[in-house]
């Protein structure tokens, strides 16, 4: 197969859907670079309370103090120039409840991405963020009538301070890592959701994060609290146009599932190849609660993302299901963190990665079960598929299980799509790209089924598109 050379062309993947941008007049622009003044500017625009500005500034100092984690992570992080990045850009309008009222460029952006259509078809509510702030935010009356709150983070902070403050920064402290500190300093946008006890939200709530501006940093902050016995599925999608310069996306997502609650958090990211995607996601599961992260990472230059669950209550369950596709020039550094902090807690990690051309995928897992607990279970499976000889995968599982009253299982596999397989499929009339797509889809098929139907179709299309681009 001479795809190694052809794969170099893959950076030009036809991200037909996401690769466009509009020249937008931003009313608020914090300029380039990050100082205390940047934070004051953001706080001023938002008209925030003092405590939150102090929180931001404390986080900013932590960010400055922490070194880049290049001692364990990719050296490529050094390519981020924090002085060139623009930290806050917005049109200055409050999010609209109706698409009619959304400014034209933003409305057209989301129409091209199919958001209003998806909303009509199968969503209970949508928030659409354009650069730093939401342009649109709406929840169906039937859902809000049940007491469900679905707003952006600033509105959550302003209107629901008692719930917001109780949990904000508690699951992921600012100092968790350099990028959670950065997010805590300059966060803007993201969702705040509260689901009252016993309310089972039937249809998913969705957020869409769109980067439009060049050399921009998007730092949304999401906090979801699902109260006792309640259930929620939340989906997020993200895209950005293809720029020559680097763009930074660094989100923090905190989930809280109270007793018997269930949260399913689904991500389908399709970043362009200039995006550094450095995201911290963690959930806190109380007694008998369940948190599932279903994560699909396509695109970006470097993604570092290890969704986690802290199982704090007895019989709590945590799950991470992830698909990562690293094309030429991309590095998907993903994994899972499972912290068992109560008896009879169960965690499950299933990760599948695909590396194409010189693409690289890394799995980092952490499973922690302390000695004093009883009856905990973990299952970890990570499978890697390599498409070309130059493709690369690494696995760093760190399973610390103390005590002997637990059941853990770990399986890992690496397989390669062989030339003989491709030849065989081509002999049946499939093009090389179709053959590879078929293999890749076969490889991830069982995980794709975990996504809601509307997303799994989109996923399959995205994978096909990636493969088309990668084999030229």
């Amino acid at each position: 197969m001479n795809t190694d050379t052809d794969a170099a062309a893959s950076i030009d993947i036809d991200r037909d859907k996401g690769d466009f941008h509009y020249d937008v007049e931003y009313k608020h622009d914090a300029g380039r670079g990050l100082t205390e003044e940047t934070i004051d500017y953001i706080a001023g625009v938002k008209g925030e309370d003092r405590w939150i500005t102090d929180f931001r500034k404390r986080a900013f100092r932590i960010f400055e103090d922490k070194p880049m984690p290049t001692h364990w992570a990719s050296e490529d992080l050094k390519a981020i120039n924090f002085d060139e990045i623009r930290y806050y850009l917005s049109g200055g309008d409050a999010p609209k409840r109706s698409w009619e009222d959304v400014p034209d460029e933003m409305k057209e952006t989301f129409e091209r991405l199919g958001i209003p259509e998806q909303e009509r078809k199968f969503l209970a509510g949508v928030e659409a963020q354009f650069d730093s702030e939401a342009a649109y935010s709406n929840i169906k009356a039937a859902v809000s009538d049940q007491g469900v709150i679905f707003v952006n983070s600033s509105e959550g902070l302003a209107k629901h301070p008692e719930i917001f403050r109780k949990w904000f920064g508690k699951v992921i402290p600012s100092g968790d890592n350099k990028f959670s500190a950065l997010n805590s300093a300059v966060f803007s946008g993201g969702s705040f959701i509260y689901v009252p006890p016993g309310v089972k939200v039937k249809h998913p709530l969705q957020a869409y994060f769109r980067i439009n501006a060049e050399q921009f940093g998007q730092f949304e902050r999401t906090l979801i609290i699902v109260d006792e016995g309640a259930e929620l599925t939340y989906m997020e999608g993200c895209t950005a146009p293809k720029f020559e310069t680097t763009t930074l996306h660094s989100a923090v997502v905190e989930l809280v599932a109270m007793k018997d609650a269930k949260i399913q958090y689904i991500t389908v990211q399709n970043w362009s190849a200039n995006v550094f995607n450095l995201v911290t996601k963690r959930g806190l599961a109380h007694e008998n609660a369940e948190i599932r992260w279903i994560d699909c990472n396509i695109g970006s230059r470097l993604t570092m993302k290890y969704p986690g669950v802290i199982m704090k209550g007895r019989k709590a369950r945590g799950e991470v299901i992830s698909i990562a596709l690293a094309n030429d020039g991309q590095h998907q550094d993903t994994g899972a963190k499972m912290i068992h902090a109560a008896d009879e807690t169960t965690s499950n990690v299933v990760s599948k990665s695909i590396s194409v051309g010189k693409g690289r995928s890394t799995y980092r897992g952490q499973v922690h079960i302390p000695k004093h607990l009883k009856g905990c279970k973990n299952n970890t499976e990570c499978d890697a598929l390599l498409i070309n000889a130059a493709s690369r995968t690494d696995t760093y599982p760190a399973i610390t299980v103390r005590g002997n009253q637990h059941a853990t299982q770990h399986e890992a596999s690496v397989s390669q799509v062989s030339e003989e397989q491709i030849f065989y499929m081509q002999q049946r009339g499939l093009s090389q790209a179709e053959a590879i797509s078929l293999s890749v889809n076969g490889f991830v098929n069982d995980l794709v089924r975990e996504f809601p139907m509307e997303y799994s179709v989109e996923l399959k299309r995205l994978i096909d598109l990636e493969m088309e681009g990668s084999v030229g």
């Binding site: 003989e420 030849f423 081509q426 009339g429 499939l430 078929l438 293999s439 889809n441 076969g442």
Partner: protein, 252 residues
Amino acid sequence: MSSIEIKDLHASVDGNEILRGLTLTVPKGEVHAIMGPNGSGKSTLAKVMAGHEDYQVSSGEVLLDGKNLLEMNVDARARAGLFLAFQYPAEIPGVSNANFLRAALQARLPEGEEIDAVAFYKQMYDRMDELGIDRKFTGRSVNEGFSGGEKKRNEILQMTMLEPKYAVLDETDSGLDIDALKVVAEGVNAMRSPERGFLVITHYQRLLDYIVPDHVHVLSGGRIIRSGDKGLALELEEKGYDWVKEEQLATT
């Protein structure tokens, strides 16, 4: 024109010439058998026809109904009507038999046209029944964990579904039990038509009792050293290849 024509074909792998001036024509409507000692180049011929990258063609031609196959890539050759039943079929984990067949048929349709799923399944089940393949094989990954005989039957299933103009069967009989051999032979015979040509590679004259060839060729040292009717296969069975090789030496 309506034939596969191989003219003075030279091909090598890693610098070793395996095919050394092979000439052979299989017209539509005919079944030609190729026999020959181990390592004589039979599978090499099949793979060169199909376009495998490991083999370099230094000279010669392969024409399918007049079209130069050697200029086409592997999948274009397949879509032009060439089918190869592999001596050692590859396993494709994760891809179900049904999905694979469907994708292969879909690849033959013009852009924008979708396969009729109901008709597809009906046809597939009919063919599987004829070939004695259990229907649960539709959901299994292509060839993965199949027994040797199951793989060979699966090759024939694919052939009957894809309805090629020319089929090269590389030792499809090897590894088949007697009953399976009959079933597979019936499958091939049912496909014989004035519109289709077959090149059947085998070591055993027994297969040719079931699939009766119009011509038999002996491949040795990378070229056809003798051709005859089905009687030649019987003679080979009796006397072995040395006999032909010696005759060949005597005449050259």
